[in-house]
Point group: C2
Chain length 162, copies 2
DNA sequence: GGGAAATAGAACCGAACCGGTTCTGTTTCA
DNA sequence: TGAAACAGAACCGGTTCGGTTCTATTTCCC
């Protein structure tokens, strides 16, 4: 299973929340509460996103984070790159830092480039704005119809906490 | 960095080698030598690919592995799924096995689907045949031009071995 | 018929990576 | 001046995964 790191996972969730009200700035603690990601993780992620110029921060009391640019111009590829480094499926991706050592006889060599480009383009084709616009047609499902009752799951679960 | 597991990495290399001569069957040891992947790893991978009906095997002396179908009908998505399980970037991918627990308030929810579909389609759009056809225009680069001399790297490196 | 050569399958191990926390420092505002 | 918020780094334990090894089974050839 190709897995996206939790960092990017949570990061996208958080950013999507921010993209709902593009102008508005929110404190890390507020965002943590809004997304149910642990406050520590939230802080870590937000700091990384500021470094990548995806967010801008205001320090001090009444501080907070806001999108640095309109959500239409932020792609998930950029987000993932900010949090997890360059998007490359295999070590053979970047011809510069090529570490596989068998390139001379490797039969797949330039096939890798195809794959990596495909993924990168797919990820670059989705903007934060698209992520944020939820399908409003589908109303929240009637609680009656939900399979297992809420009794079994802890109320107000917080993810990103042991 | 979104990383592809080594299993899939090597698997694609090995399959690409097989796709060069679609009809021909090769022994695991032969393939290992041809791809510079350790024999143990090669065996493990080949067995998994047989289970997924991507390869067919012939046991006993003079045994070996061959593609189960023409390489044009094998996609990298299928290969990765065979070796690493279902392709899903995040835990929120499959609506059935959804484990995140905050779906009710998660702002990104249906954005995930978009992302997962995008990469799945990208991966399903590349066939093994395409991977195998190398670009014959570019001749092997002149050794003179290579930056670091081969002295520093062990000759005939075998990957997948400590 | 027996043995060598090959695949089938499972169990096992160590180590790198990663998710998550914590602590200290700095900025801002009331 | 102190509380509230961000900045940045260090740290730590656990899971996962790459890789190996061992045993069983099948097949061919002598
Ligand atoms: S695996 Fe590195 S060039 Fe093919
Ligand atoms: S993170 Fe699970 S639904 Fe959004």
């Amino acid at each position: 299973m190709i897995r996206l790191s939790r960092l990017s996972d949570y990061g996208i969730v958080i950013l999507t929340r921010l993209a709902r009200e593009p102008g508005r700035a929110m404190a890390a603690s507020t965002l943590a509460r809004a997304t149910a990601v642990s406050t520590a993780m939230t802080g870590k992620i937000l700091k990384l996103l500021v470094r990548a110029d995806i967010l801008v921060s205001q320090r001090g009391v009444r501080g907070g984070y806001a999108l640095a640019r309109p959500p239409e111009t932020i792609t998930v590829a950029q987000i993932i790159e900010a949090l997890d480094g360059p998007i490359a499926l295999t070590s053979c991706a970047d011809p510069l830092v090529h570490a596989c050592g068998i390139e001379s006889l490797c039969p797949a060599r330039d096939g890798w480039r195809r794959i990596n480009r495909a993924i990168r383009e797919a990820l670059a084709g989705i903007t934060l704005a698209e992520m944020a616009r939820t399908v409003p047609d589908v109303p929240p499902p009637n609680l009656e119809t939900r399979p297992r009752a809420a009794a079994s799951e802890p109320a107000a679960a917080t993810i990103g906490a042991r």
